[in-house]
Subunit: 516 residues, 2 copies
């Protein structure tokens, strides 16, 4: 999906100065770039002007010019000698609440040079967004939490460049994709109204920023692009995901789902886009039970229960001794428990089927996945009835959100040509299991497409494709945001979805076939 050679780097040859043509250096260079880019204005910042005279004389007026667009207006960002073999680079950034991923890109070829990732250092303030936003209520807190991410980025940008043999001075563009709160904290903008009714961000649509102004240590004249937000609960990372999926240019209708604590959904095609976001519960992030965790080595991500003898076949990431279970593992588990009859359609444990694995303490029943002597932690890994109820509420919320948005625009799930699933969750999830528990519609498995890190993917496209950048504002402005009103109709749909797979089994014919 990445277009090579997007043209952020334009090579030009300007006529050298003479008594007959004593146009100023900057105007001379820009006139050439203008004619290549077919534009009337190209802006240029002061630090670049300061070096321009010797730079142009050194390269004899033949230069590689890094150009970028700021909301439709071109800007000259960097100038390099045509004979200089060093790269013109950019970095795509997925600014996640938990994890930050960097991808170093060659702006001339569109090639990915290298990647790295690190835990968002703001975790020291609080693992979730709400704590961080509260911490930023006061100026000193905002300043500190902003410094944490800026310092973290500077450290890891420097590390990524160093291990890739790229000078940080050769990094001219950053494309940042994050949710609304992360974006605000990155910019040092007060996020407190985001979480307070009526939920107002400081800004949705950004100009590009100077790297220097934001304290990002790359080339002084580098520009930083940030994906615009649709609102407080629909951030730029989703716009990035749409760009990456290509949903916005397709004739046929597709849906894009990003699942986390919030489920964010976009439905549409080249003509229209409808989006909504709703709480799907932390269960799907692996945050529900004592043993729930995000996907990492040693975490159970897949699971099969033998229908004959009821033995559990657990798979862990990197096949290390098990220490917990992630969202996709939970969904697999739920589906397998249901298919094996160990839970009923309401998600209640069926004692006769569970056998020894079923335990009870303090009046709460639980099923043991891994006994204490086989786990990495030395403690039993088990899932309680409470965990299962929570997971069912989450999957019901997910399905209800999908049903609501589809009804809103009057399409049925069968109208969907592709069902994109974004994020780490999307990479690990087994759509069959998600269908089995009635979390996602009963479509053929090839309808489902995992996008992987679509937030990073979209940010990468900004660095490699003019067309992608040009599409951003159009996408943002085309999105109709559907406010999910938790009214009676919604609650009725939600209640019906709180069964495995659903109170109406005809909605899940493939599951019906397996169970019967």
């Amino acid at each position: 999906m990445i277009e090579k050679n997007s043209g952020w780097v334009v090579t030009v040859k300007a006529p050298p100065p003479s008594l007959n043509d004593n146009t100023a250096d900057a105007d001379r260079l820009i006139n050439e770039v203008k004619s290549v880019l077919k534009t009337d204005y190209i802006d240029m910042d002061l630090p670049l002007l300061k070096n321009l005279p010797w730079r142009l004389r050194e390269c004899e007026y033949q230069a590689r010019c890094v150009c970028f667009k700021d909301r439709g207006r071109w800007k000259l960002v960097g100038v390099k000698n045509v004979n200089d073999s060093s790269v013109c680079a950019g970095i795509a950034i997925d600014l996640g609440t938990t994890r930050v991923v960097l991808r170093l890109v060659n702006l001339e070829t569109g090639d990915v040079i290298n990647e790295s990732a690190f835990d968002n250092p703001q975790i020291e303030i609080g693992p979730d967004i709400l704590e961080r936003v509260h911490f930023a209520d006061h100026a000193a807190g905002l300043k500190k939490i902003n410094r944490l991410i800026i310092d973290g980025l500077n450290e890891h940008i420097a590390g990524l460049c160093e291990k890739s043999g790229v000078n940080i001075q050769d990094v001219f563009l950053l494309a940042v994709s994050g949710n609304t709160s992360m974006t605000h904290l990155f910019l040092g903008l007060p996020p407190n109204q985001i979480i307070r009714e009526p939920y107002i961000p400081v800004v949705n649509t950004f100009n590009t920023f100077s790297a220097k102004d934001l304290g990002i240590q790359i080339n002084d004249t580098a520009r930083i692009f940030i994906f615009p937000n649709v609102g407080s609960y629909f951030g730029g990372d989703l716009i990035s995901g749409i760009i990456y999926s290509g949903l916005h240019v397709q004739d046929e209708i597709s849906i894009l789902v990003d699942v986390g604590t919030n489920a964010e959904v976009v439905l549409g095609n080249k003509d229209w886009l409808v989006a909504c976001a709703g709480a799907a519960g932390p269960a799907l992030e692996g945050g529900v039970s004592e043993i729930g965790m995000t996907a990492k080595p040693g975490v159970i991500d897949r699971m099969i229960i033998d229908p004959e003898d009821g033995t559990f076949d657990l798979h862990t990431i990197d096949e290390l001794p098990p220490k917990g279970i992630c969202g996709s593992g939970m969904i697999d588990m739920m589906a397998q428990l249901f298919l094996s009859g160990m839970v009923d359609i309401r998600g209640r444990f069926v004692a006769s089927k569970c056998g020894d694995r079923l335990k009870e303490s303090d009046g709460i029943r639980r099923i043991v996945l891994v006994p204490s002597d086989a786990s990495a932690t030395g403690r039993e890994l088990s899932i309680s009835q409470v965990d299962i109820d929570s997971l069912i509420r989450s999957k019901a919320a997910m399905y209800t959100i999908l049903e609501t948005i589809a009804r809103y625009v009057g399409v049925t799930f069968d109208d969907l040509s592709t069902f994109y699933i974004a994020g780490t969750f999307g990479s690990f999830i087994n759509p069959g299991s998600a269908i089995t528990i009635g979390m996602i519609p009963d479509l053929s498995e090839d309808t489902y497409q995992s996008l992987g890190n679509s937030s990073l993917g979209g940010a990468t496209m900004i660095l490699t494709s003019r067309k992608a950048l040009d599409a951003v504002e159009g996408i943002r402005d085309r999105i109709t945001y559907l406010e999910l009103n938790v009214n009676q109709a919604f609650m009725n749909r939600f209640s019906a979805a709180k069964f495995l797979p659903h109170t109406d089994p005809s909605l899940f014919p493939s599951v019906k076939r397996m169970v019967l």
Copy 2:
């Protein structure tokens, strides 16, 4: 010539946020401003965003918005409460080589609040441009000379604001008019190619700059507009002068002359503009003789010689004892010496007419204007034959430049509806005297119009009129710059002009009548 209420300050009332409309603060405000300004994009810098949420809540989404255009693109520069009675101010700056003049303007009413002026602190490096440019050849020199003007501006901006009761935080716009070298030094751009063949400035057409980036201590989000240069020897101060004169919008043909060491000339009307610049000699600035100086108290600025008895009636500025003579005084003197017959048409002293005033030492004759006992300095004030020859070369150069540009476009002096004279020189000069010596064409005196400080006047218009700003680039791009080739034809015209008033007296009928 100043349009009141230009509209850089737009007052808007945005709908307050609600659950039904949770547009971000910045987007909410900008949407309103957009509809007033009828534009698709309004840019906004980070420092303004940081304060926006509390500012908008404080003023209940009713704000005075200071807006400005950066080469056709709108930018939101400042936001003030509608109930805040403090002013939204701007400062027009005439960035002269010798003198810097500041004019504080109310951006809402267009009224001038106050003015101040100071000697350009770069004079400590050297009184003329060339010395300063050489000093800036090395980075440390450039840095120092840039600091001198920035520090000087900061000090005097603060002083001007304080004496006017205006908070420097309420200054949102600066409009700077200066020649190409002064502009480069103000921006800290290396000026060394300006004075070296083929005379290339770093940049002619500027984006606006952030006051903070330039180290100017006014509001952090304030923007600085700088008039574009046409070339190394035709600076933004001339564009400013054109704007101020209105020459560029008139049906009839006019000429604008700014006289200094260089004479800069613009000829044209609403359809076309031709410009040239040439060395007119320092004589016209009062820099020629030992007693020549710029206009200031105690300097001879006017002079009459009684045709009957040959007595000298000298006038000094503020009528203080004489200490020297300025350019306009020199021109008056020359005209009076000629009319009284004390010099002949070649500018040679006529001993029989000069009487006792004529002295000679080291073989050089001189005429005494003020004997030593009547001067402020205790020394005789006199003008030598060498001074007179120099003045005649200057006036001949001036006339030749005017003749050349007029011939180039095929107009005669009689076609001129107005002859604008810019600068301090223009304020003091007696056109009759300048005509008498053949420095300027023999047009009726009401054709001549002194513009005063047109550089400051044009800069003021930028702060008070959208139309003036919109006109700037068009003017710059429309100007055909005529390179003055000192060829045989030019030299012939120059030689003919080295007489008083001219070898062809029919060109100066009014002088002919007086002399005969």
